[in-house]
């Protein structure tokens, strides 16, 4: 049984999409079923090791795609106006990198997170390895991991307001400085 079939078997109805690129399999699961899907992947699928958890901000990707599509349409049929198609796709995604220690197979699990509801179930109950990566994802993107024991900023200092890895945050920052009054640090 191939890896794809096994994952399909293991996830059942929780599977939204499965794709493969250069041998890396990526599955998408719904946000509210993270705990159940991960547990079944760990126990039934044999993916017993969590490599990493991190976020991705897709806003620029969607913008570039929309621009491309618009250009194409203009070239082909100028008369037809671009229609609005439903709600925009969720802006963020959380990616979990899983690994099976027995078969040495790797799996990417993707959860799409819309901007207006940033809470994601925390997987720290399944793997303790998610503790810091989830804190970092909160720090960098602002995901609120529900059930995380200690969700604080990890890399930036506490008074920092923004989430720097979001695409709309400038590379050189917004001029934040840490106060030099070290008595309180």
């Amino acid at each position: 049984m191939s890896l794809m079939d096994r994952i399909k078997d293991c996830l059942g109805t929780d599977l939204i999409e499965i794709s493969e690129f250069r041998g890396d399999v990526c599955v998408e699961i719904p946000k509210n079923r993270v705990i159940e899907a991960m547990t079944s992947l760990k126990e039934k699928g044999g993916f017993d090791f969590l490599s990493d958890v991190f976020g991705v901000d897709n806003i620029d990707l969607y913008a570039a795609k929309a621009k491309k599509a618009k250009k194409k349409k203009k070239g082909e049929e100028e008369e037809e106006e671009p229609k609005k198609q439903g709600p925009p796709p969720p802006r963020f995604e959380v990616i979990y990198l899983l690994l099976s220690l027995k078969t040495n197979e790797r799996l990417q699990v993707r959860v799409r997170v819309p901007e207006d509801s940033m809470d994601v179930p925390s997987v720290t109950g399944i793997w303790k390895a998610a503790t810091w990566p989830e804190r970092e994802a909160f720090d960098m993107y602002g995901f609120k991991f529900k059930g995380h024991p200690n969700l604080r900023r990890l890399l930036m200092w506490d008074e920092f307001k923004d989430h720097p890895l979001r695409k709309d945050y400038p590379l050189e920052g917004k001029g934040e400085e840490r106060h030099l009054n070290y008595d309180t640090v």
């Binding site: 890399l155 930036m156 200092w157 720097p164 945050y169 400038p170 590379l171 050189e172 920052g173 917004k174 934040e176 400085e177 840490r178 106060h179 030099l180 009054n181 070290y182 640090v185």
Partner: protein, 171 residues
């Protein structure tokens, strides 16, 4: 420096400033503030092979209160800025600072939201060493340059100027 020694009687004739500078320049105890890659090269410069102790940096002081030269090797992030300022303020006068590497000088390649663009805006720096990271020879050369700078200093004159200024301000 030039001592004029009169033999036989055990007299030593020189300027007080020269004597002070001689003492200071021959024992610049470093505080190795290594944060990143340059810290590894600083380690090489301090260890066997390059051996910075040859130039008087014999005792690596790990407490800021017992050191003369703060060797800041590596990137300073904005989160680290208050710590660096605090360490510098804890050092006793006279004190000097060497900034090792591009990150400490200007921020280097890391022109980002979290990196301090050079430590010159936080603490006064005496010697800047370029390089990413500079070789241990570069660090040794900087120390020699610092020794030259210390020898050309006028500690007593400066002290007197300070007193005069304070008195004038008091009037």
């Amino acid at each position: 420096m030039n001592f004029q020694a009169i033999q036989g009687e055990g007299w030593l004739l020189c300027k007080a400033e020269q004597l002070i500078n001689w003492g200071r320049s021959r024992s610049p105890w470093p505080f190795p503030y290594g944060t990143a890659c340059c810290g590894i090269e600083l380690m090489c410069a301090l260890a066997s092979g390059y051996d910075m102790a040859r130039f008087g940096a014999e005792r690596v002081a790990f407490t800021p209160r017992q050191c003369d030269v703060l060797i800041e090797a590596g990137t300073i992030t904005k989160k680290m800025v208050p710590v660096l300022k605090r360490i510098y303020d804890q050092m006793a006068e006279p004190k000097w600072v060497i900034a090792v590497g591009a990150c400490a000088c200007t921020g280097g390649v890391f022109r980002t939201y979290s990196t301090q663009q050079g430590i010159g805006s936080i603490i006064p720096v005496d010697i800047y060493i370029p390089g990413c990271p500079p070789r241990p020879e570069g660090i040794l050369y900087a120390l020699l340059k610092l020794i030259d700078k210390i020898e050309a200093d006028h500690p007593l004159y400066k002290k007197r100027q300070q007193v005069v200024e304070a008195l004038e301000a008091g009037k």
